[in-house]
Structures are given as C-alpha cells and as structure tokens.
Symmetry: C3
Subunit: 470 residues, 3 copies
C-alpha cells in the first residue's frame, strides 16, 4: 500500500474541476489560527503543562469514540485499560495499545481513523497504519516523543496555532486551574465555559448537596427561586472573570418553559426534597434553560444548548465504570416545540444569543435552519459528536445553508477531550467546507469571491463572532 | 468577479458527462409553458393589471423569505418597511431597499438569491450583484421599468409564458377580482382555489362569525353539521365557476378523523360556542379534512393538504405586525397515522385525488413515497416552502422517485406570493430535474428517451394532469 | 434506443476516476457466492423443485412492489389477477401480463424495473424493455423457458451461485418442506428461520388457538409464562434441526420490556382471554422480544427485529384480498428508547446477537449506527424493503458507516419473495458497495486495499459471520 496516511487531497471531491477549486479554497483557510470555542480538554493540562505519559493514555483510554467501537466488537474495557469503579486491575497501557493496534481495521473509514492518523503523521511522523506488528514500536516511539518539551500541552497549542480555546466546567468547579492560567496571563487564550448542569438538573448526582454548595459559595439563599437565580448570576460573573464568554447546557430534550413564580418555587422545593416526578424534573430543567437565557440577555454570555443525548444507556457500564464512556445515544429531538417558551420570551432580546446543537439530523432542514433564519437570537452550532465527520459535515451544510444562510452558522467546534484531535478535526472541517463551497462554485451557485469569503467565515470569523470572543 | 448573475450552466452537476446530458434535457423543457397550479399571487394584480410601484414593494416587503433572513441578523422590520398594526411609521421603500442591498451577502447560496438574481437579470437587465453602492441606482432603474406597460402583471405572465396560474382564496372571499378576471375572459388562465381554513379551523380568528357568514352567503343552516357541509358544497361550486379545479387545506398536523354524526355535531356545537379544547379543535380540523375529501370525491375538485407548519411562533411579531412574515416553522409530521382515517374511507374512491405536501423531509421516503406508491387517490406535491431550493429539490427527488415512481409526483408548484419569482422558481425546478435525470442516465439507470419523457412529465404534464387542468 | 437493458457500468458513479475504481472493486465481488440469510422464498419450491407456470405468476402476481405501483395509478387488482377472498374471478395471467407490460413505464427508475430487467436479460435473453407491443411474445417466451429443466428452482439457485438461503416460517409451521429438503441433504444450503409472530403478537389472527397449538405441539403448559417460554425453546430447537441459525420478529414498533413475573403472567392471561387493551398488547409484544433475546443468549440463534411497518393500512384491500399486497407503510420508529429494556438486560451477553432493521432512515445516523457502534450484541441489518434500492443503499452506507464502522453491518439480505430477484438484488448491492467504496478511495478516505477488504466483507463474509452460518 503506497497511499500515505495523509493524502494532500484527502476529503476533496474527486471531480477534477471541483477538486481544483477546493484546493484553492483550502489553501486560503488551512493555516488560519484555530478558534475552539467549545470543548472538553482538561484545564489542568494548560495550568500545569505536564507531559502526557504514553500512547494509550493519549489516544485510547480517554477517547470514547475509540473505546466504544472496540467494545462493539466484543473487546472488553478491562483489556483496554479503562479504569473500574471497584479498583480491580485492568490491562496496562502497552497491552491495551497492542489490542487497539491489532483491531485498527475496525476503524476503516471512520472519523477516529482520520483524526488519529492526522496526529500520528503530523505529530509523530508515523506514515503507516497502526497494526499488531508495529504496536510495540509505535508505543515506544510515541512514549519517547511525549517526554520531549515540545510535547507539553502549551507547545501543542502553539504548534496547532490555537488562538483561543475554551474548556467547560461545572458551576461548582473552583476554577483553580483557570486561576493558574489567569495568573500565567493566558486567560484570554484559554477560557472556561459555564456549564451548570450540576445545579440545573434535578436528576444529577448529589443535586441537593450541589444546590446547597452553590448557596454556600455565593452567599445567596438558594432555597428561593430568586435567590438561586442570583447565585447563578454570581457564578457566571466568576466564570467571566476567568475568560468565559459562554455558557453550555446539556439536556436530554430541548424543552423549555416559562412558568409563573409559584410554579417555579414549587419545582425548586420538590427538587430539594427529592420528590419531583420525572415530568417535574423535566419541567425544572426546562425552566432553568429559560432562566439562563434571561441571565444571558443581561450579562451577554452566549448560551449554548446541546440537546438530545440519552445518557448512560448501559446499566452494566454505569455500574462498572461510569459516564462518558460510549453509551450515550442520540434521540429524536423537538426544537420547534421545545424552544418555544424560551424564544417567545427572549428570541428578540437585543443582547441575547443562543447557539443550538442537535444530534438529530432530521431537525437540520426542518427546524433549526428555519428557526435560525428567523430569530435574531438564534444561531446553529456545527455538526456535533457522531456527526462531526466527513459525511456528517456534508449532510449538515447541505441541509442547513439554504435556509439558515451561512451567517447564521456558528462556525466550527471541535468539542473534544482529545488534545491532538483538535487540529485534526479543524482540518476536516476546513477541507469539507472547501469541498462543499467548491461544488457550489462549480455549479455556479456562488462566485469564487463569495466562496473565499464564506470559507473564511466558516473556518475562522464565525466562531469568534458567534461566541463574542474579542 | 466576472461570473455573470445567471450562468447558463447554473445548477447543473459539474461532472462533464452528466452536465452535457443535463444541458440537452434542459433544452427540451426550458421553454415549455408554465403551469402554476398552486400559489399565492394577488388576484387584484390580474383583475386590475396595475403597475407595481417600486423595487422594495416588489422584491422585499412582500417576501417573507427575504424579510426573515434580514431579521435573523438583527435588522428590524421597521427598517425594512414592513407595516405595523399600530400604524406607526416604518422606513420608506428606498431606505428599506438600501438596507436590503447593503446586506445582500446574507443571501449567498440561498434560493432567494437565485430567484431575485433571475428576475434582476431577465427582467431588468441587471448583471451585477446587489450592493450598497448600487442600491440607489437599482432602485431607480427598477422603479422606472415598473412604470412601463410591459411590466403590468398580465404582461409579466405573457412574457413568462404562463399557460395557467391558480391563486388561493378563503371560503368567504367574494371572488370579486376573479369575477373581473372572468368577465375579461381570463378565468381559464387565471383560476382561484378553494381554501376554507377560515371556516374549517376553530382556532382561526373570528371563527364563529365566519361560520355565520358562510351560512348567510349560502343560505344553509350551518348550525348543523350536514348544513355546514352543504354550505361548503355550495361555495365549492361557486369557486369552480371561477376556474377552481382544486381545494387547499393548511393544517398544523396531518391528522384526519372519521367520526360518528353525533360526535361531529358536538364538535360543531363546541366550536360555535368557543368551548373546544385544543384536542377537540384538532379533531374538528381532522374531521373537516375527511369531509372535504368526501366532497372532492363527489365534485372532482383536487384536494391539497399542506401539513406541518407551526404558524405564528413569535408573539412579538404577531402583536406588532401579524401573519406570514417569517415566523412559521416546520414541525415533525405523521402522515401514515394522520391520513389513515381519510384514506381508509376515500383512498380508493374513483374520482378522488389528494395531493399531500410536507415540510418534514423525513417523511419523503418513509411515508409519502410508499403511500403514494399504493393509494390510487394519493399523489405527492413538490418540495414545499423551505425545501423549494436546489438542494431541497435534489433531496426530494432522491428520496421520492424510487418508491413513488415519477408518475405519482404532481410536478411543480411555485407556491409564491412574488410574481417575478414564478419564472425563476420553475427554472430552478427544470434545471434540477434535468440534472437529476441526467445523473440517472449517466449511471445507466434510465435511458435518454425515458429521461426526456420524465423531464417533460415533471416540468409540464404532471401539473396539468394532477390538477385536472384541461 | 440503443441502450441495453443491463449496461455493464450500471449504477456506478459517472465520474471517470471513481467509476474506474468501482469497476475494479466490483470485479472482485461480482462472482462471489450469494449468501441470503433472510428472505421469504417458498420452501415448497426447493422441496418439490416444480416448474413455475407463467410470466405473470413469476413476475407480477406475487410481487407486492409491482402490484402496488400499478394500483397507485388506478389499475385494479382484479385486472392484475390477484386472487380475491370471495373467489370471484380475476383476470387470467396473460391478460394481467398485458396490462403490466402496457404500464411498464410507471416503473422508470424504480428498483422493480432494475430487478425485473436483470431477470429478463440474464435468465430469458430479453434485451428490450417490456411494452404492450411485445407482451404476448414475452409471455410466450418466458412460459416456454419456464418449462425447461434448468428453470426449476434448484437449478435457478445453482445458476445464481447461491451458497446458502434461509426461508422464514412461523412458529407453528410443521416444516414439512424443510423436512423434505433435509431428507434431500440440502438443509445446510436451504435453511429455515424461526419467526414466531403467530404466537408472540396478541393481535395476530387466531392468537389464542395458536398458543394452544403451540402447547399441543411442544407438550408444554402454555397457560403459564414459563411454560410458554419453554415451548418456544422447544420449537427453536426444532427449527435449528432444520437448519435455522436465526429468528426473526416483525413488530410495528421497536418497544421492548423487562417486566416482573406477575406482570408477564397477567399479560398472558389477558392475551388468552382476549381482553388486552392495545397498550397491553404492545407490552406483550415488547416483553416477548426480550424473552426471545434471552433464549437467543442461551441457544445462540441470531435474533432479527424488523420494526416499524404499519401493516394492512387499507381496509378495502384487507376485506377483498388480505395481507402482504402493498398496503404496509413504514412509520417513525424509536430504537434508542424502544430497545432499552432488551439491551439493558442482554446487550452485553456473550452469546447474544441482535440484528436490527429499520424502515425509518432518520434512525440510521441518529440511533442505529451509534447503538451498533457501542453494544457488543447489536449489528445493523441492510437497508430494508423500500430502501433496498440504489439510492436507498447509498443513503444507508452514507449515514451508517462512519459511526457503526463497516464491521457492525450485517452485510446484505435480499428479503424477497421473488426467486429471480435474488441475484438481481445482490448485484445491485455489490455495485452500490463498489461505487460507494470507490468514492471513498477517490477521496483518499480509505486505501484500495481496505476497499477490497470491505467490499468482500459487505458482499459475502458479513452475512455469514453475522448470521453464524458455518
């Protein structure tokens, strides 16, 4: 096989006239700085700037995309070195890496293959597919390189030309790492994001204790609805002081509510007593989204809603190891009905901005594009999670742009926990955007000039504008 | 930018062998007469044949596609000269046009851009994109041309080679303009359509008064279900006398019902008293669809159902200005369950024809194509509203034709309120049909001969056949 | 028209570089043996090996795809020789064939056209489209050929290079034909499948009698839940003795349940008394799916769920002629919620395998691909029924492979009642797979080597592996 891991024309349409245009467009965006306004990298990396330890800990163990695919073909998480709640031993990183490499063919054509190949080639100079034969050699090579100074997290950010990156912290997070980052003068580049699911979702673990802690931290009386909202305002200001320009809300559905004061207080009372029915818990979350919109309209933080993931669907996995390990599955989501209460109240508010994300592609053309193409407050986030892939991006752009226009799209998020996938994911987006716009040029739908403008918007300006990043 | 506004190969696939076939197919349909069996043009235009006044009144103020996109980026409707309910002043047409032109780039790649460019180029000889720099000049140029005799509505119809066009009027409309049109001998060319939403939807404004007026006009006792249905039969005959071959029904869902007489009377009683619950109002609409099917089976009028738009979602817009200004959003729609009662009763009726339209593309391959591919009475309408676009048409044809066949498709509707968009929209359809069939020829799925036959069917014969237009 | 019925490049992408790769890939899979692990051919064909009688009985009368399309354009089933329940006369086969041929243009671009042309060309040497002019001649020619020894069912299997084929029988089927097949030493090649809908669906005709018969056949006390499940275990063993490696379950929704013993017994009691509400009948089916999963986890039979068809939607057709004649329509289906109970219990079970099929394409990328990409027990079946078409296969592969990977796909099923469509359908799949992988190679997403490996997997190995066929 003489095909390199990273072909220079990868992802571009094959038709020669389109490919030529795509190449030209891509050249103009390939080296733009990376703006990463939403993601899940670990702020301790940037605060402490410590070295990563080994290939498995970098590429395999924290990557739920990779873990789930291996599990789906019968490879147990013990063998992949995924820690257990009971502390029982699991495989060591080298053994896990060997299994991963031996099963590399499972990833043929997947985004994981593309992202990992990108990192292997650009960061480690590896130019052959992973395999059982080379597992030890690649484990050693990567391990050796990780010890180099230029593989510290901040060096990786520099090399990837990351202009700004946002992490995501829960409302009760002390932001110690971000305090260090700020002390190091990096808090305009490395920002936090306010994600208060720990205190807005009555089904969250330790919800009552969390609310009480919120009261303690902020000095507000969180037993009243108004006091609880003030406590949020307080935390939001604290997060802004650590660079946050946005909030984020992960919810199973897009339901919002706009209830009377007495109803809200009754929900809070029930939530603190632990007596809410599932329907009431849903109402609590729904009302909290509208409250967060109200605060955003006041303080200018950009609100993100990530709706439609059914979390933790495998009881066995939850019992053995816990969350974010691959058993979250998308579900059908109703944005037009769900967001009605919130948008009726704040959709025209001058300072309010909401960026909505979906895992239900049927909502692209049916709901989100028409809604973003009307409401001043609403933009649509990029394809999310399972849809942040070559075909996923194509389906997204195809379904979205005619009704939403390009200017109601919020550019790209990498939304990753894997540091080295950041440049890889942005590169995929830039290539797909170039290919998509090139096809439009070739079909005489837009001019070359417009294509260049929109490519830059989608690959750089949109993210800064949408997230109000200076 | 040397790209003309209207490239002769626009919308054709870029692959040279497909493009060559597409060009050939398009040549055979490009100049066919336009059949426009469903739309919302103003019958007063054709009755009075008066001149349009200015560019903004022609292209901007009545076009909710354009207004909504500008609003979505924060431009207020006051600045776009959209009239207010309270009569407070709004911008003058020239100022609104200037803002529209200055923000023209928002429309990059949208169907609005394509349609407006088509009109600018073919009707006004403008061959550069709108921009702030040329706003005054284009406003003046268009205004001057609109004063010409050959820019009167009937002249525009002639130039566009419109063989027949249908407008849409509510049940209580006196049809005065259509009476004038008839008196002028034009009622075979310019037809009305019976859209009785004003008297079939208990949630319509002034529903009770409307029903009473229906009784007064027809001399029927509309306090009984049977009398109300007779009144419809009467109005339908009146509409047929003004050229109508079809009825149209705009409903939030596709639900139909087939209730017992006593249940129907109870719904009517409640509707007249204003005591229906939302669920009962839905039942009323559902039963009325089945009643209308029954009348169609008798009088041969082709029934259209446009289902799945959640109307008037922005309370602020409704309070300030009212309906049809951009805040209608599609929602998930169930055709297989919804139409069950109606089709169980009339789906095999010899003279009955139903044309169904959806805004929920997930129903194309899942429900509508299989249903139209079985029921003798059912055909599928063209892609509607947000989906009447280059990509929308491609997705429609892709998802629909394998199961429905081409012959269960009802051809094209422009469904527009914008007179000059009629030739533009039909041209987009004809180009996309040509491109789609060309790809099938190139992949040896159909022969050239079949492609020519189907192109003509989809671009001309289907609309006349489906709508029973002589 | 000089285009042959079967162009050697049919279905391949038109872009020359992709087509060249597709041709090469196709050459490597075109002649692989056919593995047909799920379908509805008649086992009496293979037991008795009798001749088919005539063209209409072979191509028209048993093919609901063809019948429904003709009906949709107003051609009555009487004229198509579809038998009536009341025994009233219908058209003779030749007359039906004439009507079919005269309306052949209705099938332009449909999968039926492709499949039938394939059989006409490869089996009968016909190389012109069917038409009214040649109806008698083709009827005679086909009739004459069907009398030849090499048109007996087993000879057709040989010529099509069918390595293994599974039929589908209900739980109470005596398997007489399969006993003959076994006696003839063919039961490794021609296998049955256990489809117990007759005794798992309380809405099935004669449900109570069926359950009693199940008890009588197996000697189990089917009035208790445990006894009924034992009776299933017994029948499953009997089916395995006749070659079955799989079970199949046709259900309107994907709902599963995991109820307490007392609840299960109450459902069974109600089902036998005929007192279940529709909701309880749904719970019965839901629980039975989980029970079948439990038995599969024990006996290793591969479980198939075909969910989401709303059956028998036309009361007139049901009254006149009965089931499986074209009035089954897909409906929206919830897999993530529906399969939750079953997967929570058995999704990680070592010997359990579930293959899920959907008619709701919106579940491909949203639910089934993510679920199959996580659960060890779950694979996804190929595009089913209306989606087993050129475009349907493209949409399936596009939406599925990035998240599920190729290895969680179960290869191809022809799922047909029409013997001669088997090689045609597999050929379409192989061509589309080749085209799809060729595009990936041309876009440098996978290497040529990987494409070859995956083509073979998808066209041959996957079906054997997924269905545990030795």
């Amino acid at each position: 096989m003489t095909e390199p891991l990273l072909h220079p024309d990868r992802l571009f349409p094959a038709e020669p006239s389109i490919r030529a245009i795509a190449r030209n467009l891509y050249e103009t965006v390939a080296d733009l700085p990376i703006v990463s306004p939403h993601g899940h990298t670990d702020p301790s990396w940037f605060a402490e700037n410590s070295a990563f330890t080994d290939a498995a800990s970098l590429f395999l163990i924290p990557d739920h995309y990779v873990l789930r695919m291996l599990r789906s073909r019968g490879i147990p998480y013990d063998a992949l070195a995924v820690p257990r709640k009971d502390g029982a031993p699991v495989a060591d990183p080298r053994a896990a890496w060997q299994i991963f490499c031996a099963n590399w063919s499972l990833f043929a054509g997947t985004p994981s293959e593309l992202w990992i190949n990108h990192a292997l080639a650009t960061e480690f100079g590896i130019d052959a597919p992973l395999s059982a034969d080379t597992a030890d050699a690649t484990f050693d090579l990567i391990g050796a390189r990780l010890a180099d100074a230029d593989f510290r997290p901040l060096a990786i950010l520099d090399r990837a030309n990351v202009e700004v990156i946002a992490t995501t912290e829960f409302a009760l997070d002390p932001l110690d790492h971000h305090a260090t980052i700020k002390a190091n003068g990096l808090n305009q580049r490395i920002r936090t994001t306010y994600r208060p699911d720990d205190v807005t979702d009555p089904d969250a673990a330790d919800f009552k204790a969390n609310i009480e802690k919120l009261g303690a931290i902020t000095g507000e009386d969180v037993s009243t609805w108004a006091g609880m909202i003030k406590a949020h305002a307080n935390r939001r200001a604290h997060f802004r002081a650590h660079g946050a320009t946005a909030t984020d809300h992960g919810v199973p559905t897009a339901l919002t509510a706009d209830l009377a004061q007495a109803e809200k207080q009754a929900l809070l009372d029930g939530a603190l007593k632990g007596t809410l029915t599932p329907g009431e818990a849903e109402q609590f979350r729904a009302q909290m989204l509208t409250e967060m919109a109200g605060l955003s309209a006041e303080d200018g933080m950009v609100m993100q809603i990530h709706a439609g993931s059914r979390r933790a669907t495998d009881p066995l996995l939850q019992a053995e190891r816990g969350r974010n390990l691959g058993d979250d599955i998308p579900q059908r989501t109703d944005f037009v009905g769900g967001l009605s209460a919130l948008l009726s109240r704040y959709g025209n508010a001058e300072h309010f901005r909401l960026i909505a994300f979906t895992l239900d592609e049927s909502t692209y053309a049916r709901e989100l594009a028409p809604m973003a193409g009307y409401w001043p407050a609403l933009m649509v986030g990029p394809p999310w999670w399972f849809h942040d892939s070559s075909n996923g991006i194509r389906r997204y752009l195809d379904a979205m742009h005619e009704t939403a226009g390009f200017t109601n799209l919020a550019g790209f998020n990498d939304d990753t926990r894997a540091l080295l996938s950041i440049p890889a994911r942005h590169d995929v987006w830039r290539r797909e955007v170039s290919g998509f716009l090139a096809k439009m040029v070739a079909e005489h739908k837009i001019s070359q000039t417009t294509a260049h403008d929109q490519a830059r918007w989608l690959c750089y300006d949109a993210a800064k504008t949408a997230y109000r990043i200076p």
